[in-house]
Structures are given as structure tokens and as C-alpha cells.
Amino acid sequence: MNRDMIKFLGFAALILAVPFALSGGYLMNVLVFVGIHTMLAIGLNLLLGYAGQISLGHAGFFGLGAYLSGILTATYGWNPWLAMPLAAAVVGGLAFLIGFPILKLKGHYLAMATLGMGIIMYITFNETIGLTGGPSGLSGIPNIAIGSLTFDSDKKNFYLIWSFTLGMILLTLNLANSRIGRALRAVHDSEVAAQVLGINARLLKVQIFALSAVISSIAGSLYAHTMTFISPASFGFNFSVELLTMVVIGGLGSIYGSFLGAALLTLLPEFLRAAQDYDIIIYGAMLMMMVMFMPRGLVRGVPDLLRKLLKKRGGKHA
């Protein structure tokens, strides 16, 4: 067993032990969200951190997965275990088709195009009232069940969501350390050099775009089945930006960083409730400070900062 695997198992053990330390209830529910957000951040990080391609529309894929699962189960009575992979396949296929023309664009233009894509999906959720229930939302989505075990409590959902999240972390860590992960980083650093070495940069970018949409869709399906109610407000532009913030704060190109970013941005507002009306100011200030002092994200930023401090101290003694 190698070091990466030991690190992962340690992380998994730590996560799965959390319910024993908590008495359950509200915080458990927040941790379910941390899991869902971690999946989303990882999906976006593959695209942004590894392949270097921005998306401001990922909340749309998240919503599409949630709605497809929700509609198939609540309206048409499908089993969630069937609805989820079908939704993922549809979203993946759609992203693949959108990806070909859209990923020709670079930088700001790609940001604009994905922004538009997200907005179109948001409007669709709002306007196709017959299917989605429109702004008032879609309710009556069933919980996921395995045999007679129905995931209907916060604690059960915690284990359900985190099984998926941990599985996804493991798979994406493997991917990141493979020939594909290397090719992605190569495209990020110098697209032309990657191409002359035989990498089909365009196809690779589209594949990763589709993969990250599939991950978002699965997270969306799980979200729908744990919440049992969804509405378009959860899948708007704001949420796309929040996802982007999680990835950047956690660290571009770091899978564990995506977890940290997701955890921080999900938990922080909860803890800042104590500050009442000032919470949003403190929240904003903290994000600004983090980007200023740890531009490489939490995962690399904390060691960087410690090293800097130690160096300063060493300098004083010398």
C-alpha cells in the first residue's frame, strides 16, 4: 500500500467517525451539505485546477441532475438508483455536445459562454412549470433506499452522501495521478506543447468537461433525494460562483483542497451566525484575506505561510 492510499484511508476513517463525536441533529445536516459541496468542488476542480478551463455554469449541471432525478422519481415513480445514472448519462452527453463548440473559447470568453449556459439552464428550471414546478419547486422526491433501509435521517444521509463523496475522492485522486491527469496539467501549462506530443487537447478538454458535469449531476441527484424538495433558487449563478470560490480557496489542482474549500464555505456561515448581522462582512473579509495571503489555496497556503513565519523568526535570531 502506498502513501497516498494510507492518507486516503486516514481521511476516510476521520470522516466516518464524525457522527460518533456529534450528537446528531442540525450540524449533521450541515455535514451532509459539506459532502455534496465537496463532490461539486472536485468536479469543477478537475476542469479548472487540472485542465485550466473555467466554468461559471456548473450549478446548471448540478440542477439538471437534481431535476432529472426528481422528476423521474417523483412524477414518474422511477427507482432513484435507476434515475441517478440515467440523469448522469444525459447530463454527461449534453455537456459533451456543448463542450465541443464552447471549449474552443479561452479565458474570459469561455467564462462568458459557460455563464450563459448556466443561466439558460436556470431559466429552463424556472419556466418549464409543467415539469419542474417552476419557482415554487418540486416536492415529494423519495429518499434513496437499499432494501428496507431508507435514508431518511440526517445520520443515514451522512453515511450515504459521504460514501459517494469518499468514493469520488478516491477515483479522482487516481485519475489525477494517472496519464490522463498528467495530460490535463500539460494542456494547462502549454497547450501547443501538449499537442505536438500527441495529446488531443480539444477532445481531452471536452471529456473532462463532460466528466465534471457527470460528477455535478450525481451530486445533484443525491441532493434531490436527501432534501426531497428542490427549487431553481439552489441552482443559480450565485451558486456557480460559490463553487468556484470553494475550488480557489481550497487550492486549484488539489482534491483534498476541494474538500477544505467546500467545508470552509459551508461551515463558516453557520459559525458566523453568532455574529448576527455582521456575518456577511466577516465572511467576505475572511475570503479576501485568504486569497491575499494564501493565493495557492488552503492546502498549500498553510504550509507556505508557516514556512514564511519560520524564516522570519530564523532571520531575527541570526
Binding site: 485519475l175 496519464r179 499537442q195 505536438v196 506530443l197 488531443n200
Partner: protein, 251 residues
Amino acid sequence: MLEVSGITQIFGGVTALEDVSFSIKKGDITGVIGPNGAGKTTLFNIISGIYTQSSGHVLLNNVDVSGQPPEKLARLGMVRTFQNIELFGGMTVLENVMVGLHTKSSSGLLACSLRMPWSRSEELNIRTAALKWLEFTGISELAEVTAGNISFGKGRLLEIARALAVEPGIILMDEPAAGLNSRETLGLARLIQRIRDLGITVVLVEHDMDLVMDICDRLLVLNLGRKLAEGTPQEIQENREVIAAYLGDAD
């Protein structure tokens, strides 16, 4: 090996290349020389698929590859290096070369995510082969260093190692000696000869005349977008038109 016929390239109203034809024999080191603005880099960019020519054809091993993208050409056995080295700066030196072995491996998204046994053994083979190329170019000791932190000279060697990892039949080098000191240039000359000894055809654009005259089997001279002369270094040195183009006409 490589045949170029009637290449013309027009940028806006400027004719960068006009009806350039030549052929390169397998196993030769061929130098492409000419004064600044002669169209050497444009020619390279066309041959390597980065630009698409206005007219004319490029034949690689008797197959017309005109207008094919660079990644396709790499799979057909043609790679190139760049004048201002294009490294993957965020990756280690070893990883850079491992990217060169991308076409030699085939594990897909799913196999890589699941770390299937075959993708793991493939990964080991990639690493072994990459280390071999680092040794060939003499930069093994830098394997774990981040590529963005190595010197320009070493970066040049890394770029060559990475290109060789593709196991090409032909390698195009755009000014490989640019920015190197005289000792590094000497090492480069020996390296290029060792690459030729592997059976790889080498084409280089170069301004360093000592290097070109020393190692090239044949030379192609471009001037103002046209082919001026072609021949052995000896013939080129004695060619009056070439001398005139470089030194100005005596008349």
C-alpha cells in the same frame, strides 16, 4: 521521409513563403538556415501542423499530411521543439517526459480512475521509459525538480528528452542552440548526433553557423520566403547566391 512541395504561405498581404519544395532523406541531419525573416519558423510551423499553408503539400513517409493537426502528426512519428522552450512548468522534469509517453499508453478515463492492474503496469513502464530518456539527455539528476525552476539550457535538454519519448521517426528543432553558451552548444551538437545514431531523422532551424556546418549532412537555405539553395555544407559555403544573401551583394 519528409517531402515538401510547393508550400506557399500568405499572411494577410504578406507572402511569408513562396513555392518552397525540398525533400529530406531518412537518417540525415538537415539544417534550415537563412537570414532573419526568411520564413524558417513559418516553414516549421506548417510542417508541424501548427499553421495550415495557403497552398502546397507536406508528405510524411509518402502520406499527405497537409493540414493535419499536430497531435495527429505526433502519432505518425513527427515531433518538434520550440525556440522559446515550451515546458510544463508546474510539473516535475520526470513528469514532463512522462507526458511525452502519452501516445505510448492507452488507459482511458475509467481505467485510470479505477487504477486497473493494466493501467498500473502501464504507468510503471512509462516511468521507466521516461527515466531512460532523462539519462540519454544527461539530466537524470533533475528528475524530481519542478520544470519551471531549471535553467534554460537544461530546459532545452528536457524539451528534447520529452520529444524523444514520443519515439519519433523525425524530430524538428527550432533553434536548439539559441540561448545556450558555447559549452552547452557543444554538448547539444553531440546529443543531436546521438539522436541521429538512434535512426531518427533530424531537421533544425539554426543561426549558429559553426554548429550547422559541424553536424548537418545537408542544408536548405531560405531567403525572403524562397528557397535559395540546397546542398552539403561544403556546397552551401561556396554558393555565391548564399554568400550574397548573408553578406550583401558586392556589385
